[in-house]
């Protein structure tokens, strides 16, 4: 299919849902991408299966604090510059782009870049949601080197990072982003299509589009849960499970090691149930009376209870009326090697991953 401006409202809403609170508010990238598609025309969305084995796929996405992104808006060319820098280093051109993370504004970055470069965009990504760090991408988990990784700013100034592993690359790019004013655009994980087929989370652009459409069309939470089921299953995810409908009764935030760490407390509308959601940029685990009822890598999404609009962790506030929805992670995140870097213990919680489908 081809992605045009008419798809972006749904795509942005679906990406925000899959962002599990992180990935940044997609509103600004929605506007920037719409303008680029109007100017340069629609972008082709391709299946990895339809690319030749040797086709070169490069991952693209921004890194930075959401508040920085709300002041330093994109000029729209950053993605193209990051891509060209990586291509120049490697001495080969990309044949297709893939999102580093489908969650939040980063879900739209490859489409904006593709509008300028006329490259196709792969229906898939490296996270299936949003995560805070490079080594949490499926590309890295399943053996693709994150580096060489390019990082550029709004002038096109930039660097190419080479590093012995993804954790090191992440540490370096974080410092680079800071020197660039708190955000940068990256191209990384260059791989052939044969490899990408093995390591990517597939079908997530289509999934975001469909979820966004259901968010817009569903009359209420129950309707959304029912309507989203087949789309989530098609992409390998578990069903959406309503965990709580209630009000936000407390939000605490602290900063630990460069992350937004906090606790969102909720209280049911109708019963005495309460819930705590632990935040590290993303919503990571949901706890009810000391019991973990949902744990990362399963998705924990918070949406407005009336409009179903996803609420990012930066915008969650006391008094909001919300629904908490859990979604089972795709199988690629349930393997021992994936859980070692994205399971609850990787975030410091003293609990093993318990899939949603076993706890509810």
């Amino acid at each position: 299919m081809r992605i045009g401006p008419q798809h972006l409202v749904d795509l942005a809403a679906g990406a925000a849902f899959l962002g599990t609170g992180g990935g940044g508010d997609p509103y600004i990238y929605r506007l920037a991408t719409a303008a680029a598609l109007h100017e340069h025309g629609d972008v082709e969305l391709v299946n990895l299966d339809d690319l030749p084995d040797s086709a070169v796929v490069m991952s693209i996405g921004g890194a930075g604090a959401p508040t920085i992104g709300r002041e330093k808006l994109p000029n729209g060319l950053e993605g193209q510059w990051a891509l060209r820098k990586l291509e120049a280093y490697l001495g080969k051109r990309a044949d297709a782009l893939i999102a580093a993370e489908i969650g939040g504004g980063n879900g739209l970055v490859p489409i904006l870049t593709a509008a300028h470069t006329r490259l196709p965009v792969v229906d898939g990504d490296g996270m299936g949601r949003a995560y805070p760090e490079t080594q949490m991408m499926t590309f890295s988990i399943y053996g693709v080197s994150a580096t060489p990784m390019s990082a550029v700013d709004e002038f096109g100034d930039g660097v190419v990072i080479t590093a012995r592993d993804s954790v090191t690359a992440e540490r370096i790019v974080r410092q680079v982003g800071l020197a660039m004013g708190g955000q940068c655009m990256c191209a990384d994980h260059a791989m052939d299509a044969e490899t990408a087929r093995r390591v990517a989370v597939k079908g997530t652009v289509t999934l975001a589009l469909e979820l966004g459409r259901q968010i817009r069309q569903s009359a209420d939470l129950a309707a959304f849960v029912a309507a989203s089921r087949s789309h989530l299953e098609a992409a390998g995810y578990g069903a959406a499970v309503p965990l709580l409908e209630g009000k936000v009764v407390d939000v605490s935030r602290d900063l630990v090691g460069g992350y937004d760490v906090g606790v969102v407390k909720l209280k049911s509308f109708t019963t005495a149930r309460t819930m705590q959601i632990m935040v590290r940029n993303e919503y990571l685990v949901a706890i009810e009376e000391g019991r973990y009822i949902a744990t990362v890598p399963d998705l924990i999404c918070i949406v407005d209870n009336d409009t179903l609009e996803p609420i990012t962790s930066e915008r969650i506030r006391y008094g909001q009326r919300v629904a908490v929805i859990g979604v089972g992670a795709p199988p690629t995140y349930r393997t021992p090697e994936a859980l070692a870097v994205t399971g609850p213990r990787a975030f410091g919680f003293d609990v093993d991953f318990t899939p949603l489908d076993n706890t509810n």
């Binding site: 890194a63 604090a65 959401p66 709300r70 808006l73 994109p74 000029n75 760490v261 940029n281």
Partner: protein
């Protein structure tokens, strides 16, 4: 004594308060010149109380005129946007997401210039003098005389906006300039939107605020004039003329603040039933609960604090249909006194139902016989609508008191689910004018700080002090200033941990200080 006035779309209400007592109140019709409506209301309350104009110490005015101008797309000036941002930001130009009808009316051209600052104050790029000159020439030639200047991270580093505004003032004679940092918060698009609307509203603000002053002069009242802001606090009339967007949403805020004061309850549900709609909100600590999700006025995104208010199509003028199964959302509005049955008209309205079931005594003739069951059915319908709205706005299942205000307050039943009791205070019909007269002023401070326990304490102390000083500068009595809100948001993904801190202080208006200044 002080006077509270609410200039709404349909009615201009006025009250005179002596200390904590309402000594006079009235409702007049709003007029298109604003002035004669206020005059009529003023004359009536002065007559009621026999107060001498010289005994009035202070006048507080709330108005929905500027919100209505944006919503109805009338009275807005064509406005040019100057954004100091390059090489960032060109992918999302000014007014990119505005409704086309509003944009076609207000778009006075966009000029993106090199400059702006990083979060830590480092310049992104130097200003280009030639670029600035070209923008000035272009706007001068276009004839547009309203201008909004927005710089990247200007709430933290306002210098660039000041410099550009000064250059424009030096070059073009008559110009309404709004610098975005005057209006506050981080979030460039929303701040730019507020600056654009503000610049475009300034000519209307001169008219409205000028009419307010003129009507008071004519009535012989020389007291200082304050205008209410969207958070229920006051600003000086001159500030309202500079920043009309700060009055957005002050209508529901005033009626909720007035309701809180009239009933001496500071945690409650408030329902303000007007002619066409009922506004349902929640009071926490005497202030309306702020809205958490995206705020829009007339389809334009803003990052102001606005009260979380649910409007439903139910008011005294709501038309009753289908044997009482449907009430509203359409209304006879200000034609109630011609069209309602109890005024001899031909339309069955919610007011007629209220009279029929004995909740209200309104009108100049008896209610004619109605179809059997209509009264019961309509009353049940009204009850169900209000019960649903109350449930949607509540934050906890625990029962809360409810305060019913507005001309149609009699439609609120005494036994709504989740409500412990219903307060129907005296003067509930003019709660909005009373809310305007509740003298509180505020000051806000916002800053970023890097990690470390000492840094946090220092930042917090500095922000508290700044906010307090700003409240006092705005007219608050020093001993009464309290910090009412502290908000911290950490900037994720930054290697050097950085937190955004926002503090708000509120205090009572210092009436003595006003008198001294006035002399």
């Amino acid at each position: 004594m002080r006077i509270g006035i609410d200039v709404g779309g349909t009615h201009t209400d006025a009250v005179i308060m002596d200390g904590a007592e309402v000594v006079g109140s009235t409702k007049a019709l709003t007029t298109s010149d604003i002035l004669s409506g206020i005059r009529a209301a003023l004359d009536e309350v002065l007559r009621q109380t026999g107060a001498a104009p010289s005994a009035i110490e202070c006048v507080m005015i709330g108005t929905t005129q500027f919100t209505n101008a944006v919503v109805t797309r009338s009275g807005l000036a064509r406005t040019a946007a100057v954004r100091v941002c390059l090489p960032t930001g060109s992918a999302v130009p000014p007014m990119a997401d505005w409704p086309p009808d509003l944009r076609s009316q207000m778009d006075g051209g966009a000029h993106l210039l090199h400059g702006g600052h990083e979060y830590n104050g480092r310049p992104i790029a130097p200003l280009d003098a030639n670029e600035v000159s070209r923008a000035i020439e272009s706007i001068d030639a276009s004839g547009v005389r309203a201008l909004a200047v927005t710089g990247v991270f200007s709430p933290l580093t306002p210098d660039v906006e000041d410099e550009i505004a000064a250059r424009f003032h030096d070059s073009i004679d008559v110009l309404d300039v709004t610098r975005s940092h005057e209006l506050g918060r981080l979030g460039l698009l929303e701040r730019e939107n507020a600056a654009l609307l503000n610049a475009g509203l300034k000519p209307l603000a001169r008219h409205v605020i000028g009419a307010m002053r003129a009507s008071l002069d004519q009535a012989g009242i020389a007291a200082p004039v304050y205008v209410s802001q969207n958070d229920g606090t006051l600003m000086e009339a001159a500030a309202a003329q500079e920043h009309p967007v700060r009055t957005f949403s002050s209508g529901p805020t005033n009626s909720m603040r007035g309701a809180a004061w009239l009933s001496d309850v500071d945690r409650a549900i408030v329902i303000d039933v007007g002619g066409t709609t009922a506004d349902v909100g929640m009071l926490i600590d005497g202030f309306p609960r702020p809205s958490g999700t995206t705020v829009e006025v007339g389809g334009v995104r803003l990052n102001f604090g606005m009260p979380d208010v649910l409007s439903i199509g139910l008011g005294g003028g709501s038309i009753v249909r289908e044997s009482g199964a449907r009430v509203g959302p359409d209304s006879v509005g200000h034609e109630l006194v011609e069209r309602a049955l109890v005024f001899g008209g031909d339309t069955l309205t919610a007011t007629d139902i209220g009279v029929g079931v004995g909740l209200a005594r309104i009108g100049d003739r008896a209610l004619p016989d109605l179809e059997t069951g209509v009264l019961d059915a309509a009353q049940q319908r009204i009850r169900a609508s209000l019960a649903d709205a109350v449930d949607r706005i509540k934050t906890s299942p625990a029962p809360l008191p409810l305060i019913a205000v507005g001309g149609g307050a009699f439609l609120v039943p005494d036994d709504l689910p989740g409500i412990s009791r219903v307060a129907r205070p005296q003067h509930a019909g003019v709660a909005n004018a009373i809310g305007a007269a509740l003298a509180q002023v505020s000051g806000e401070a916002e800053l970023l700080y890097a990690a470390g326990a000492d840094a946090r304490d220092a930042a917090l102390a500095s922000a508290r002090q700044q906010a307090t000083q700003r409240a006092i500068a705005a007219g608050a009595r020093p001993g009464t200033v309290e910090i009412v809100d502290v908000e911290e948001v950490s900037l994720a993904y930054m290697a050097e941990s950085t937190t955004r801190l926002r503090v708000k202080a509120v205090g009572d208006l210092d009436l003595d200080e006003i008198a001294v200044r006035d002399v």
